[in-house]
């Protein structure tokens, strides 16, 4: 065996280590030590032994009752106000209402969900159409509002046709599973959203994942496969706030004869000169084959869409099971979306304001030494990296006036815990400064930044 290494210390199986290591003894006579509940997470309760489908419920319940007060309670906190820049949030641990928190948790990137024009349109639609659509879009659920909104969205995107889904999730699932089949190949970015992955599973196509934003790895993953190929990326990756290099990825797709689908859930209506999305911003709007997006984020409503050629939409209309086996969007929601879309087009300064706010907040956080990752969007991750303490930090932020979502394993990798900050055009400079000061103060106590 050759050994030409120059490293500092080499240990072999038959050699004694150079210095006696410190020993950590365990009790070898009795039961194994049981780790604390916080050392577990959802992944530990995915499978279980036994034939009873309920076998995991009691252990999971026991675990959840232990961990909820320690931080898991920070999820599903009820808001008592609109998702504005200041929100009143119920503290389910103390049953208090915490008022006037600076809101960095909502996706309301353009502040449209509570605009008077939007609420007025919703009120008027409720008067005419009532609460729900009461039917599948292919049966009785389509109203004239739905038809008009389809046309308006197609015109906005500059595409031949658009099809609306009840959620962004169902748009991905329905489009991917509607188009791809067993024997085909789908290659998605490794950070693809769960709705993309679920669409891949439902399609029964062969699935591969390429390393995040790496065209060279996409090239490898597409190589050696003959048949139908679909590549899927996102416009903005919601955990890191970064964006893909679309021209380079498109070049790889074309080399292999693959189609490219982009999910612009977080980038539609905010990126690009006219707000079409990241593909427009990177000059490849017409080169991308399938455009998917949501209405629940920048438009402040609900639903999803797929945009593309008329032939694509005609085909998907018959094969997107998540759409035609769901109830159509409520006409009231559609009316609100129409008003929001109109505002997006009439008020381009909202996008300017958003990007000014993003730049300002990045500057504020950087000046305070807050680690913010490599975001290039309105989604700014505040990197904590301490899986054990992120809930404690989140609790302090919540109690001191900031509403922001903690994200930890398994939603992100181990030691990649973070807070996901969403910036809105509606935030005032005062909101941003107050938020940045609070975040820096709390993180400073944990040595994560110098406040």
């Amino acid at each position: 065996m050759s050994d030409n290494t120059n490293e500092s210390s080499v240990a072999r199986g038959k050699a004694e280590p150079s210095a006696p290591p410190r020993r950590l003894d365990v009790d070898e006579t009795d039961t194994a030590a049981v780790p604390a509940a916080m050392e577990y997470d959802y992944t530990n309760f995915y499978f279980g032994a036994g034939d009873d489908p309920f076998a995991l419920l009691a252990p999971f319940d026991e675990w959840y009752r232990q961990v909820k007060p320690a931080g898991y309670y920070l999820y599903e906190l009820p808001l008592h106000t609109a998702p504005g820049t200041r929100v009143d949030v119920e503290d389910t641990k103390t049953n208090e209402i915490r008022r006037g928190l600076v809101n960095f948790a909502s996706y309301n990137y353009l502040g449209l969900s509570y605009r008077p024009e939007v609420k007025k349109a919703i009120h008027e639609a409720v008067d005419i159409y009532g609460g729900g659509s009461s039917g599948s879009p292919i049966l009785s659920g389509t109203t004239d509002l739905h038809r008009r909104f389809n046309d308006e969205m197609a015109a906005f995107k500059g595409k031949e046709a658009v099809m609306v889904f009840p959620t962004g999730y169902s748009a991905n699932v329905g489009t991917i599973a509607g188009l791809m089949r067993s024997g085909d190949l789908i290659v998605a970015d490794q950070f693809a959203h769960a709705s993309i992955v679920d669409g891949m599973i439902l399609s029964k196509a062969k699935s591969r994942f390429f390393r995040h934003n790496r065209p060279d790895d996409l090239d490898r993953k597409l190589s050696g496969f003959s048949g139908k190929k679909l590549v899927i990326v996102e416009g903005v990756y919601s955990m890191d706030g970064d964006v893909p290099p679309l021209p380079e990825l498109l070049e790889v797709c074309r080399k292999h004869g693959a189609r490219l689908l982009i999910d612009e859930a977080h980038s539609a209506f905010v990126f690009g000169p006219t707000g079409k999305g990241l593909a427009e911003a990177q000059g490849v709007e017409d080169e991308v084959d399938i455009h998917i997006g949501t209405f629940s984020k920048s438009l402040g409503g609900q639903g999803g869409y797929v945009a593309g050629s008329q032939q694509l939409i005609n085909y998907l209309r018959g094969f997107s099971r998540s759409r035609f086996f769901s109830c159509a969007l409520s006409p009231a929601v559609v009316a609100g979306l129409r008003a929001s879309l109109e505002l997006v087009q009439k008020e381009p300064h909202l996008r300017t304001q958003l990007w000014d706010n993003v730049a300002h907040m990045q500057k504020l956080l950087a000046e305070r030494g807050v680690p913010i990752g490599d975001s290039t969007s309105q989604v700014i991750p505040i990197m904590i990296r301490d899986d054990a303490r992120i809930f404690m930090i989140g609790e302090e932020l919540f109690r001191e006036g900031v509403f922001i979502n903690p994200v930890r394993y398994p939603a992100v990798g181990k030691h990649k815990s973070r807070f996901r900050m969403s910036i809105s055009a509606a935030h005032t400079k005062h909101d941003l400064e107050e938020g940045a000061n609070t975040i820096a103060r709390v993180l400073g106590r944990y040595g994560i930044c110098q406040s």
Binding site: T5, R12, G13, P21, L24, A32, P59, H415
Partner: protein, 221 residues
């Protein structure tokens, strides 16, 4: 649960790599399911330990395992993860004989040799068999802590299904920064792995120091 085997280690590494779920299923017995890190991608765990105190003295061990879910509901003790070792190798024949008898791990019949090369920011493990390289694996540290891990180990003895709790205590660091890497070389031990779609970089890197690996009583189930 009584202890049936205790091994002190100087250094240990456990690196998780994505592998095709079809390949993982191929090595698992029918009653075990691989955990998927993402759709159609399961987890290959490559483990190398330098034991410096055992009944046979110091030796090194290489273990390839598929990560499977622990049996949460059936057991009172909650393990953090489960693993099914499908190929092991050691530098010591007696160690191999004892562990094969006690734990029914499937061992390669020839000795291996291993180097654990530690620098401040990296641990490199080089495994050789008959002077030929088998693998070259490196992992990196994040923050160190002292911890105890409980894992469930699953084995087969013919058609008999077995499981044990494996308790690892020691200094420990783990992360998913994707800074490590692994090269597999052509060798009888790696023949199947080289045919399979195994990622060359670990998505999770575990590094242990100065600890103890304890096997608890083996149960048939």
């Amino acid at each position: 649960m009584s202890v049936v085997g205790s091994y002190r280690f100087h250094t240990g590494v456990s690196a998780f790599f994505e592998m095709a779920t079809a390949d993982a299923r191929a090595v698992l017995p029918k009653h075990l399911e691989p955990i998927e890190v993402r759709h159609e991608r399961s987890v290959l765990s490559v483990n190398a330990f330098l034991f410096d105190d055992s009944v046979v003295g110091p030796y090194t061990e290489l273990m390839f395992a598929v990560i499977v879910p622990p049996s949460v509901a059936a057991w009172g003790v909650h393990a953090k993860a489960g693993l099914y070792p499908f190929l092991c190798a050691t530098s010591n024949e007696e160690a191999r004989r004892i562990k094969a008898e006690r734990f029914h791990f499937p061992y390669h019949h020839q000795n291996i040799d291993a180097q654990f090369i530690e620098t401040e920011d990296r641990l490199r493990v080089r495994i050789f068999g008959c002077d030929a390289p088998i693998l070259d694996l490196s992992v990196t540290p994040e923050s160190w802590e002292t911890t105890t891990h409980l894992l469930q180990g699953f084995m087969m003895n013919g058609t008999e299904r077995l499981r044990t709790i494996l308790q690892i205590t020691g200094d420990y660091t783990v992360h998913e920064m994707e800074r490590g890497e692994m090269t597999l070389f052509p060798h009888p031990i790696t023949t199947d792995l080289l045919r399979q779609d195994v990622s060359p970089y670990p998505f999770r890197e575990h590094w242990f120091k100065n600890g103890t690996e304890v096997f608890h009583k083996i149960e048939a189930f």
